[in-house]
């Protein structure tokens, strides 16, 4: 229990948030929305890490979250640069049109 809230509720909440992100990646065609869903999944994991770190009174989990945020920021910067470059060449960021590598 953390402040009267069982850890199971945090497990459930972050599972649901992670699934929402995963469904978004599967169901949308816009590359930017797919990126945002990846951010949502990362945040679900972060929330669970913080919850367990508070449960154990262990600061390591929160430091991990800090590093995940740094990596996410780097990933978004590079990913959006790649996307804007693709848009400049193809004039679209639709994932179904960007399947040139397939054939």
């Amino acid at each position: 229990m953390i402040n009267g809230i069982s850890i199971n509720y945090y497990l459930l909440l972050s599972t649901v948030l992670f699934i929402i992100g995963a469904v978004g990646v599967m169901a949308r065609r816009n590359s930017i929305i797919i990126f945002m869903c990846i951010e949502l999944m990362l945040n679900a994991v972060n929330l669970l890490l913080v919850a367990f770190s508070t449960l154990h009174s262990d600061a390591n989990g929160q430091v991990f979250v800090f590093f995940i945020m740094a990596v996410a920021a780097a990933e978004v910067a590079v990913g959006l640069a790649i996307l804007s470059m693709i848009y400049r060449n193809v004039k679209s960021i639709d994932t179904d049109l960007l399947s040139n590598l397939k054939n």
């Binding site: 229990m1 953390i2 402040n3 009267g4 809230i5 850890i7 199971n8 509720y9 459930l12 909440l13 599972t15 649901v16 948030l17 929402i20 992100g21 995963a22 469904v23 978004g24 599967m26 169901a27 949308r28 065609r29 816009n30 930017i32 929305i33 945002m36 869903c37 951010e39 949502l40 945040n43 972060n46 929330l47 913080v50 770190s53 508070t54 449960l55 154990h56 009174s57 600061a59 390591n60 929160q62 430091v63 800090f66 590093f67 945020m69 996410a72 920021a73 780097a74 990933e75 978004v76 910067a77 590079v78 959006l80 640069a81 804007s84 470059m85 848009y87 960021i93 639709d94 179904d96």
Partner: protein
Amino acid sequence: MLGYTITQWIFGILSFLSIMFGLMVVFSRNPVNSVLYLVLTFFCIAGHYLLLNAQFLAVVHIVVYAGAIMVLFLFVIMLMNLNQDSEPQKTWLTKIIAGVAGGMMLFVLVGSLKGSEQLGLNSYGSSQIGLVKNLGKVLFTEFLFPFEIASILLLAALVGSIMIGKKEIK
């Protein structure tokens, strides 16, 4: 109030809001609306961090995500002129398959979490670990090397995104 403490009420409301806004991110047609709903989701998650006594992470979360990353997203969407509702959608079959796959994943994960009540954790000691002082001590002693590596990673990402985003490389 109905046998629940105020913390439990806040937890329930924040959870509901974050799940709702997360669903709106996926289901709204306009990418700009998606970004704004994602910002609201991040604020709800920051509220969860506050509830978990992780004050430093709550502030960093708001600054990094809502302040920097989402502005970057919004900027790119405006640059590509995507703020319209008429973007192509996947077929209904694909959407249904995605929904079923997500539902089954949820089923499996919740099923596997069911046995975790017997975890038997009972250490709820100090609530001071989320403060800047304690987190900074851990970060600059135990995790000093990863911290420096993270700075190199950010520098590499900076240089890399500028190189990729350049008009043409001669």
